[in-house]
């Protein structure tokens, strides 16, 4: 089956785990161990920041509530949808890469576009806050808001650079070397971590 434009049907998207026997899935570590240790360490650092936010919030409920009221949750919702869509594109690209599909660079390009749109919205949001005299020194809430979203955005910017490198590697059309394959899978894992962190950060800052 072939999709329009010469794109092979991505039946590999639906592929389950590789199987060793009839019903026994073979466990496989995507990318390499170091990438996963980095991701787990980064997630742990953020977990402590999330906890610190809630502990500080308990002592200054009114300050945090007033700060939260000055945020627009619609920014957070749209940014969440952008990152979820980018993650879908990257996850699909990794599955199709294993089948040698030419659609991979386009999907990675879509993920980059979503990441850039996230950045534009974040800059607009920062600009709005700063123009109203709200900065990291305003109070504890805005200190957490700018630090947490700023550190997250730094991760996103790193992820965008990795995705750009992944596009360059995959658009050549030739089969990837083992090192290139690990790079692409590690980049995808990092990008999903950026998405995962935002999934927790958004409700914590905007909704809870």
């Amino acid at each position: 089956m072939s999709a329009p434009g010469g794109v092979p049907a991505p039946s590999g998207i639906a592929a389950g785990p590789p199987t060793a026997g009839r019903d026994r899935p073979t466990r496989r570590l995507p990318a390499e161990l170091g990438a996963w240790l980095f991701v787990l360490a980064d997630l742990t650092v953020f977990a402590f920041l999330f906890g610190a936010y809630l502990v500080d919030r308990s002592g200054q409920e009114a300050v945090f509530r007033a700060g939260q009221d000055r945020l627009l949750p619609v920014f957070g919702v749209v940014n969440t949808l952008l990152l979820l869509t980018s993650s879908l594109a990257v996850a699909t690209a990794v599955r199709l890469l294993r089948r040698g599909s030419p659609a991979v660079p386009r999907l990675l390009g879509l993920a980059v576009a979503c990441g850039l749109a996230f950045s534009v919205l974040k800059i607009a949001e920062y600009g709005d806050k700063l123009s109203h005299g709200l900065d990291p020194q305003t109070d504890a809430f805005f200190m957490y808001y700018f630090v947490l979203t700023g550190v997250h955005w730094f991760h996103l910017a790193c992820g965008l650079l990795m995705l750009t490198g992944m596009i360059a590697v995959t658009r050549r059309g030739s089969p990837l070397s083992p090192h290139e394959r690990i790079y692409v899978e590690a980049g995808a894992t990092f990008w999903h971590m950026v998405d995962l962190l935002w999934i927790v950060l958004f409700p914590l800052l905007y909704l809870v």
């Binding site: 049907a9 991505p10 639906a14 809630l54 502990v55 990257v90 599955r95 999903h192 409700p203 809870v208």
Partner: protein, 90 residues
């Protein structure tokens, strides 16, 4: 069938749809809830379920070695549970 439609019909597309719906639901529950601990806990709970779904489907933790599945399961349950506990108790 376009590539987009084929993606949406795949398990990854189904996971994405669930994540989008959960985002909308948690925004509705959390938006203007006035600091209620119960609603806040529900929103955080949904977030960590979403986080696990991202790991399970998009990061391929579902087919990864057991230690990694336990690590992500433990992270989402442990950190999510701790944050909900802090929200309810503090």
């Amino acid at each position: 069938m376009t590539l987009a439609l084929q993606i949406l019909r795949s398990p990854l597309g189904a996971a994405w749809l669930v994540l989008v719906l959960a985002t909308v639901v948690s925004a509705i529950v959390g938006w203007g809830q006035g600091g209620g601990a119960a609603a806040g806990s529900a929103v955080l709970g949904i977030s960590f379920l979403k986080a696990y779904l991202v790991a399970d489907q998009f990061m391929e933790v579902r087919t990864a070695p057991t230690w990694l599945r336990w690590a992500f399961g433990g992270y989402c349950a442990g950190v999510g549970g701790t944050l909900i506990g802090l929200l309810l108790l503090l």
